[in-house]
Symmetry: C2
Subunit: 208 residues, 2 copies
DNA sequence: GGGGGAGTCGTCCTTTCGGACGATGCGGCG
DNA sequence: CGCCGCATCGTCCGAAAGGACGACTCCCCC
């Protein structure tokens, strides 16, 4: 019997997961958690085989699913953590993997994929949704788009709506320099306009 | 007995809703739908009292929950549509209300609130999540910076980094029209560039 | 000591954006 | 009915942004 903990702030999602796993006779939901803290506590007390972890917990909780994952993986005899979330942003995926997740699934995944992932995780295997796998690979192929601190500084000002000349004034450099930074940012992010750069940086977690 | 249709592209969410309503003996889920088209079809065939409608359907479907809501509300003896979604952006709320939704709930709502909303909807009453209600009210109080739904639509595309010509193509209008919308957006938000408009809209909660 | 990346600055040129007009049709509202 | 907001389309023009070169300092690292 695979014993799992379900951690998600949405009562509806928890109910759905419990209902789905209720149909499987080799999987048992031993606890549910509505916050990252509850997830860690439940893991400590119930000692499950797998934790199904959401990444986004509503604004009510300052901690994230990645934090909880990190803390859970730091435990003795830590269970495997399967991240189950809505989004597939690079920042989220990277964060989850760094935190020690052994799988990453999207909430719109078909149930059988989810069940299979839980069984795989319980067996110590990694399970990635196809979408996620291809995204990770494309990230490997593409040189990591790490912006320099100066470039991030420029991009933050641009994101706040400042023009090139204004950014130049703010940073005490010439407009040429700002445009030069922006050109580098564009190539690194694979875009060709300031607004697209801001959007890309946001989805990748470079900008808040 | 209140007969409802559940429309959401996430199998997990559908399972959760069905499980939750299964506990209520005055509510019966008569059909589930994974796409907007299925939602309309199910409504036509099952003739429910209430339709629980998600707004975001994955990229697989071009139609949105708002489209489906509009089509359902245009039917004879149309059921009440309760929008149940993850986000509380102004654009989503406005769009849903315009489409004829009689309620707007967030997916992280506690189950009892959801149940109450379904009963209210079945009785022809409107049900808004407290967060949504206050947002609508604050919108009433500050009418100066309210963008039309079309303007928000344009701004969302701009925020994702699309150029004027691309936005024009996406919306099947001329570039002149896009620029016209943007000019209005600029004056309403008190800015003078697309990037500044996106920034302003974000801080005011118009965009997420 | 010779890359190589980051940061700085420059010029030339093209495309895009934004401002300033105007104009039409539609719908709501007093 | 007229007025007004919204959405649509148009032209003209100046300003901003972006691409394509080059070039000069640091500074780090092999």
């Amino acid at each position: 019997m695979i014993r799992i903990v379900v951690a998600d702030d949405h009562p509806i999602v928890r109910a759905g997961l419990i209902a789905l796993f209720g149909l499987e006779d080799d999987i048992e939901v031993v606890a549910e958690a509505a916050t990252p803290d509850e997830a860690v506590a439940a893991t400590v007390h119930k000692n499950p085989d797998v934790v199904l972890m959401d990444l986004q917990f509503g604004a009510r909780s300052r901690a994230t699913g990645a934090d909880a994952t990190r803390r859970i993986r730091a435990l003795d005899a830590a269970p495997y953590v399967l991240v189950l979330t809505n989004y597939d942003s690079d920042a989220d995926i990277l964060g989850a993997v760094e935190a020690g997740a052994s799988g990453y699934l999207l909430k719109d995944a078909p149930p059988h994929e989810l069940i299979a992932a839980v069984r795989a995780a319980a067996a110590g295997e990694s399970a990635l949704a196809p979408v996620i796998a291809s995204r990770l690979l494309s990230r490997m192929r593409a040189p990591q788009a790490s912006l320099s601190s100066r470039e991030i500084e420029v991009l933050e000002l641009v994101a706040s709506g400042r023009s090139n000349t204004e950014v130049a004034g703010d940073l005490f450099v010439s407009e040429t320099t700002v445009k030069s930074h922006l050109a580098h940012i564009f190539t690194k992010l694979g875009v060709s306009s300031r607004t697209a750069a801001v959007s890309a940086a946001r989805t990748r977690g470079i900008l808040r």
